[in-house]
Symmetry: D2
Subunit: 261 residues, 4 copies
């Protein structure tokens, strides 16, 4: 809807849960590079709360403006946050993110046609995806600024829903210690679950779940995180933020059952 | 067919182009770990030529035994060989490999059913895929033993054909120099082509092509390599090896047109 | 579970809602032809209520044994019932039924593998599908025995869920009269809805809905009926029968939202 | 390109093989109803040869203007021609035609987006598809004007390529006699083959084949015909017509192998 309209709503006393990318980055200096223009209302960026409840639930009840994160960012941050917070990442991080087509929105274009997408996969935004700075920002907060460099490469898959973020980094500890860090970090979380096997994205489809698996090959940690890009990666998380912001049960309207297949 | 049968064929004077994994690894010590048993004919491993023509075309005319590589290995090796050969890789390598379902073969099992695979993706063989040691072996040869450590994680995608290997490593040079190394390495190759954009796997489907794109995010190199796992990743490459081994035109029976969509 | 076990449960006073094909046909003489054997408990067939609530809701509260219909039959019967009941069908009926793969169950077999099913469609059970006699039986009841001959041909489609039954018959009236018959027949039904356009099966997916469109080309009526074969075509309808049989709200546990895409 | 341009090319002495719908119908009176306008060059309709080689190969060498048929028409006509020519059809015909998405062309629109099409099927052009009059015209020629009424309903399937036309009509003979009529009609045809089982469309994909199966349920004949809508249903058939028109081998450039899966 545009930052100007949001500003006028806030002036009128409304609280805003914004699904767009307009207020996700706190640093106005990042907008020209990633969005091609100066931010029109940089003063709002300071008050925006990043709408990822696993990290910011405590700030949401008082938030005037919530910036719900992007779909790739949600999976990548939830896949990496416990390791970064526990300082268990050595060196940099590679996130190979795979998404269904619905992430591209509903506007007709050649690139999302069935005949182009079916029976194929490819990387896109190879030079860098706009969700990258969100990931760096949030991991930086968790690491008190010593966040690892993140390389995020996004891929389009022939499926409608789902994101799988495969995260790679060198272990600064044992795998057991890493797993424990994830278990602790997500203990009691209603939607983000540590699971024993690498998750199938379909297990999260039609739900607000994020399923996270922690593994390793030698001393290379491999964390895979799966969400439904339209729910935990978008409107579901928006509803979750709304529920917390306004004092509803966090799972209100988000209790649909997992279904297979 | 088993190593014993192959040995008897070789004794009888036949030349063998083997599509299985039986003779791909030169070091017999690797078999117990990756294939769960001692190699039954380790003396044959020394004479086996690794059937990747881009690396071993010169040895094929005299080869008695050719071991055609696996599908993930073909994409990964072709995605990394020029960089390794030119010593442009700093540190280790991550290969995030994505495959269509036909790579699993045609035996019925729950994991390859349509209803399980459609609308979903997941990682598998998280602890390490059998194709990993092939990749390390061949990159080691190119690097005179100083090959980078390779982490290979394989993913199943809801498509029939195609592999996309997304390869990540730190640049030991400029991106321009890296691109040049790939252009030179594959100059004149009939099937492996350096392409300007990250390839869609479907562009290689129903052909023996390998399409390679070279890019970077900052100083992290990103190379994506696409093949049809049933052709360049399997029988097509077997035919290519046969053609070279027996003096036919290398593209004989492999000239089918690219088709889209 | 077998008719014998069901009989023992009934003897013990239980009420049984059976999801199998064991008790769907009232006429024991039909079993040898369609199921290859004599029915082991023909006396139970008389008391079995056909579990299609749109036709038999009134009998369910007193039913001891409910035989929930097959997926193809549910779509075909709901697509034809109003026309047959109002005597608006002239001549015979063709039902071209299209199903997703999950209808075949979860046992591994070549025919339901992703690589066989994807990017293809084909007819199966060309000589006649087992669900045919259920359709004829129920339409016969509605027509006081003067039911039209039904040709049912089933097709496998490359999708997981969903059935679309395309029904063709000669109009014995105007199209307007036909539409009115459907509107009246399904008025007040919680799950079966007459819709203005030919339904996309996905609009019914993950719900217990049946969406029915009534149209014509000249004086050939064309009725298309869409369901999720795993819900209205199977377990969802089973729950619906249970709810009615035991006095719960008919939609209990079946209120999940439609989702798109 | 438009009928005017075609006329000028013909005037200049060129021979034209037209892939559009501009010249498929010989009767100018049909254009307003099916294409919404008067035909701009009705005099050309008389000389246009309908480019279905199984019916018109003999006219192609002398043709100045060839109108290659539509994809649904090709499958429907090839599925019905032998029965109509042998006068084995009693009453009218229903053709339930199922197509992959590529038949809609490559222009971006909501209806062909991956997220709309995947995991779903629906009927379209319910009131009548533009390919219907082509089918009636060609069957009428074969029947000396006594062609059966044809109801053609088209469906969109979640696949890229392929058409399956399921044809239903009352048998005016035995099934054996019907099968024999098809075998004779297509004897020696290079691309249209009578096959023993209902064809999977994928068996025809990437080829110029039409696979036809003849079966029955009681005295209702069921003929299923499969093509690749982009080859036998479009450009492949155009090339086939060109080859015949200009004296090349009919299969020139159309010899690509069937591939599975």
């Amino acid at each position: 809807v545009g930052a100007g309209k949001v500003a006028s709503w806030l002036d009128a006393g409304a609280r805003v849960i914004d699904m767009s990318a307009d207020f996700r980055l706190n640093d106005p200096a990042l907008y020209p590079r990633w969005y091609g223009r100066e931010h029109p209302a940089p003063e709002l960026l300071r008050q925006a709360v990043f709408g990822l409840p696993e990290l910011h639930a405590g700030e949401l009840p008082d938030a005037r403006l919530v910036a719900v994160p992007g779909c790739h960012s949600t999976a990548a941050i939830l896949g990496l946050a416990p390791a970064v917070a526990a300082d268990l990442v050595r060196g940099d991080v590679v996130v190979d993110s795979k998404t269904g087509v619905s992430g591209a929105g509903r506007s007709p274009s050649l690139g999302v046609q069935f005949s182009e997408v079916a029976e194929s996969t490819h990387a896109y935004s190879i030079g860098g995806h706009r969700h990258s700075p969100e990931v760096s920002q949030e991991l930086g907060r968790l690491a008190n600024g010593r966040a690892p460099r993140v390389t995020l490469l996004t891929h389009l898959l022939p499926m409608v829903r789902g994101i799988l973020a495969s995260c790679y980094f060198d272990l600064a500890s044992s795998l057991a210690e890493l797993k424990e860090a994830y278990e602790e970090f997500y203990e009691g979380q209603p939607f983000t679950k540590v699971v024993p096997d690498s998750p199938h994205t379909k297990l999260a489809s039609h739900t607000n779940l994020c399923l996270v698996n922690v593994a390793a090959q030698g001393d290379k940690a491999i964390v895979t995180a799966a969400i439904d890009n339209l729910l935990k990666g978008a409107s579901g998380q928006g509803v979750e933020c709304f529920n917390i912001a306004f004092g509803f049960d966090r799972a209100e309207a988000l209790r649909g059952p997992s279904q297979w297949p």
